[in-house]
Assembly symmetry: C2
Homo-oligomer: 394 residues x 2
């Protein structure tokens, strides 16, 4: 006789992307599989980050293995503060920053610190598949603002306004975006910020991909609406270091205080080992991004763009300005086959050994689309993978 779980349990889903990873691990021809699937960075972390961990563990194992303050080491928060000031003209103090378990931990704490059961949050559609879950677990109602490639996946301020009610607590903003690669312009960010100030809701801005920019510029929402904005970052993508499980959130001091109080009961404190690695990243961040990350990812992004235009001329998409992904509209191909993009992704894996992620996992507007990650394969294999997709449709 199994005892009851909380009522939210049946509303939470296992990540479909993680399910595909599982499916993948069961495949026989694993070597032959071309993955446009996961969102993991594909480069080794900076050697300076790795060496900082090795040195700390060697020199002072006991100190390195100790607890830290719940909001994180002051030395790391000062690095963050300095970096934001220098590169984004963001002026905060170290009390306005809390170190978290990556962006995931920061989003969870941000929502948990803000939401009362029944409050509403608004998401773009499509958007990162990990946003509805933390909202559902706080018993929030989730509302959506549709976007489409024909409009460059822009968030229309009027469409956003139409979803706002007295119960609206927050809008989650992701730019550069997953799955679409869209980078919002200064004007778009400002329009959303003005609306937040006018209508009294929070902007939770997930800046996971802010360093992964191929064109355009990153405009921190905090500078337009400092009283309404919680800004989130992770070291997973920029430093190619997911195993640090480290990120941060900054915003108004009262909100950060609330987040830190909650985090006492969620993690107690961030890992000191991870914080040492993150601190070391700041010394090499600019060079690592400019000489290693961006040139390689940009070439792969362009290789996928060329292959899409050559082999799949009826596909709809916009060239990503940032992040890791193309979000491709396959409507004109799927129509003839009379299958959904979910079925397509399944059959593509089985028949052509190519992994893509069905678009509906990112929201209803994603139907008939698929997300294609371009950072995980070489340029040659990217071209080969897109060719295999075209072959599938022949």
């Amino acid at each position: 006789m199994p005892l009851d779980l909380a009522t939210i349990d049946h509303e939470l889903r296992e990540s479909p992307i993680r399910k595909i990873a599982l499916l993948l691990s069961g495949q026989k021809h694993a070597k032959d599989i071309i993955s446009f699937g996961g969102g993991a960075p594909s480069l080794p972390p900076p050697k300076e980050v790795v060496n900082s961990l090795i040195t700390a563990l060697r020199k002072d194992p006991k100190g390195t293995m100790s607890y830290t303050a719940t909001n994180g080491n002051l030395s790391l928060r000062e690095k963050i503060y300095g970096d934001l000031k220098k590169h984004e003209h963001v002026s905060i103090n170290p009390k306005q920053v809390a170190i978290t378990t990556g962006a995931t931990g920061a989003i969870d704490l941000a929502l948990e610190s803000l939401i009362n059961p029944g409050d509403e949050i608004i998401l773009a559609d499509p958007t990162y598949a990990g946003y509805p879950g933390p909202g559902i677990k706080e018993r929030a109602k989730i509302k959506y603002v549709p976007t489409k490639w024909q409009d460059n996946f822009e968030i229309n301020a009027d469409a956003l306004r139409s979803q706002i009610t007295r119960k609206t607590k927050a809008f989650i903003l992701l730019s550069p975006d997953n799955p679409t690669g869209r980078v919002l312009s200064k004007e778009s960010i400002k329009a959303i910020c003005d609306l937040a100030k006018d209508k009294d809701f929070w902007i939770i801005t997930d800046e996971t991909y802010k360093d992964i920019l191929y064109e355009g510029r990153h405009w921190p929402a905090y500078n337009f609406a400092p009283d309404n904005t919680l800004s989130i970052f992770t070291y997973s993508k920029s430093a190619s270091s997911p195993a640090l499980r480290l990120g941060y959130v900054y915003g108004p001091e009262a909100a950060i205080d609330g987040i830190v109080k909650l985090n006492q009961f969620v993690t107690l404190c961030p890992s000191n080992i991870s914080q040492i690695g993150a601190e070391a990243f700041y010394a090499v961040k600019k060079k690592y991004l400019r000489t290693k990350v961006l040139p390689i990812y940009k070439k792969r992004m362009e290789a996928m763009g060329r292959a899409l235009s050559e082999y799949l001329p009826l596909a709809g998409y916009v060239k990503p300005q940032g992040a890791f992904y193309y979000f491709v509209d396959f409507t004109l191909y799927l129509r003839d086959l009379k299958i959904s993009e979910v079925k397509f992704a399944e059959r593509l894996l089985k028949e052509k050994h190519v992994v893509v992620i069905p678009g509906r996992f990112f929201g209803k507007s994603g139907e008939n689309h698929c997300r294609l990650t371009f950072v995980a394969e070489t340029e040659e294999r990217i071209a080969e993978g897109i060719k295999r997709i075209a072959d599938f449709f022949v």
Copy 2:
């Protein structure tokens, strides 16, 4: 105009123990301070754990820095499974285990996966100061079962029964206990388990200190009530490795599934680096505990016991059977001074440079008591610290 936070915000308190740590960092005579305060382990981690991290980071930086499954690496879960089977006669499969952010993360996920707003949880009083918070954040009502040193801090099954209602969702069981050092007997554990089965509530058993035993034996509640028990462990104390921020929870598969679904949105996955360290621990666990941890902590425990009996003959306490602490009743001393134990702790730090933790932080029954950690100081300094307390009362 600061925007609203969730209504739970004003009910959550900053940990008073962490406040004392802050007070401490502001003290001028830091070197002279004898700390019976924090609950951090005081030994270096096993060198094999440290070396496993260094080797992994050196040999395969990219692989070491990668994401893992949300429930953790299978290789670690198999080690846990094997260890539980061998040393505690617990029979589970690796799907019944999820890796978490220490015990803190496991307790948070366990409560979040079980509790609907308005449900009740029952705690011992006194108990670990970190339990009410995660209950409050799930909007649970917290009820208490008082215990006292005169009864060896035993949890009386009738007293527990009297707190049970139709809304009771879980009882949190901690043995060896913080702050009292009490280890529950087989009969006590079984009585609580029988009650849980009879009245349909969960036992969340925090086994943080299960390896830190000076006498008696650890009886896993899971073996008495496998359908009702979620068992929690952390590597922070046993492996002297708080910075791994790693632990696990095991229990019925459906409950562990629910916890893993939630954890997607709380941490995404545990740190691969930390999991590599935890895996290495199993090869040396027995020897490390038997030759390093237990002999040193036991001598310190006995040194504090001797000093208490010599210098503070009117203090009430029981010799701890496990964990890091004496929970000392100062009623007969404080009565004459007409001060609370909170005031006493403050003045003791200021006047005698000794840190103790006021008992009410662990529950109402802790009034006039203080928690004294014995693992953080040498035997000589422990004797000196207790002598200073006696001097305070002269």
